[in-house]
Amino acid sequence: MVWHRDPSGKGGPAVISLQAVALRAGVFELREISFEVDRGEYAVLMGRTGSGKTTLLEAICGLRPVASGAIRLMGQDVTRLGPGSRGIGYVPQDRALFQTMTVREHLAFALVIRKWNRTDIAARVTDLARLLGLSALLDRKPAGLSGGESQRVALGRGLSFRPQILCLDEPLSALDDETREEMYALLKTVRERTGVTTLHVTHHLGEAQCLADRILRLQEGRVVGGRLA
């Protein structure tokens, strides 16, 4: 089944567009995955544990090859492009913070790689830290951070280079209820301030209902779904 973009969408080319993507990983395979996410939309991809949500997200980020089909980001075919050329801010489920780096170095990392000058990096780090409530933690290392703080650092690292697309893999799964509520608010603020198009993977319905413009469901190797009212 192919799911088509809602005609009442915001218009313009879809920011994320998958066309008949097939991929295999271990015991399961995903076939004919097609969906689109519009500019500035917050899409939540749901599915049971083991349904292949993470695998699909990795394929979109360029970390896993697809067997067939095409992935287009901002109208460009990126199916064969490496992860660094796709311009996606990626927040993996386990956050994967760099253990030897401070929070400041995390936020600056992508900018140093892009050879930004020092003043611009410092300004960007200050802005991001303020947005994500990390200003007091800039010199800490991951070992000294709580779950919520780590999550905000991972989010900041992904947002630092101003990507057009943000991919979040179960970003709230390991958090307690209170921190989760804070993260809902933070994710909404990030979206308002940056206008970043987001694809958020979760198995938590409440999370989807709270955040999503569009819910996509991964069932039996296919994606179905639509825009929320």
């Binding site: 970390l63 760099f98 030897t100 990392f109 892009r114 690292r157």
Partner: protein
Amino acid sequence: MIGGLYIFLIVAMVGADTFYTSPRHLWEALRSENIRFALKLSLISCSVTAILSLWVAVPLGYLMSRYRFRGKGVLDAILDIPIVLPPLVIGLSLLILFQTPPGRAIEKLVPITYSVPSVILAQFAVACAFAVRTLRVTFEQLNPRGEQVAWTLGCSRSQAFWRVVLPEARGGMLTAFTLAWARALGEFGPILIFAGATRLRTEVLSTSVFLELSIGNLEAAVAVSLLMIVTAVLVLLLVRWFGTETLLGKAVRP
């Protein structure tokens, strides 16, 4: 309880060495020109070996831990050869290798057999295998996800390796260096066969122990053994202290 017995055995062995010898014997050993040379050559050759081992083991360990490729099993088995092969056989194999036409060609350019390079090569042949093992385990224990995130942030593979993977592998690199150094210090069989035991030329501390024993000078042999123990402990403590200083220093830096 059983663990305690083992620890007792270790302490008892070192204790026996200490009580068998006297400060006078130690002093005499240190005054001997031969033994001073052996000490110097041991320190230099072990350090060179450990650095070379690390240099080779980092890419090899990374390759073995992160990539799947055809012939990996064979490569894995080859890397185990220096660990399982009797040391004497390694020495003999090195000696024979440098008797083959390619080996002789190398000897014409740089004299190896029975000279200092042969000491280092004999140590390296064994020590490096241990460094590779250690670093392989180190890289296997690192979360590959960090590297993947670095790629999505715009890093090339080599940038991700140098900026993310290697700093996180620092502890393992330190262990690999220490292990290679200690293996090199204890290396004896291959050195004896491949480098010989020429005084003031290829004599290292382990060879000194053997030479002193072979002329029936047990006191001197024990004194040199004790010297080896002290040197090893000092160097290992220094590396550990220096390593953890920098590790901790970075971890708690305000």
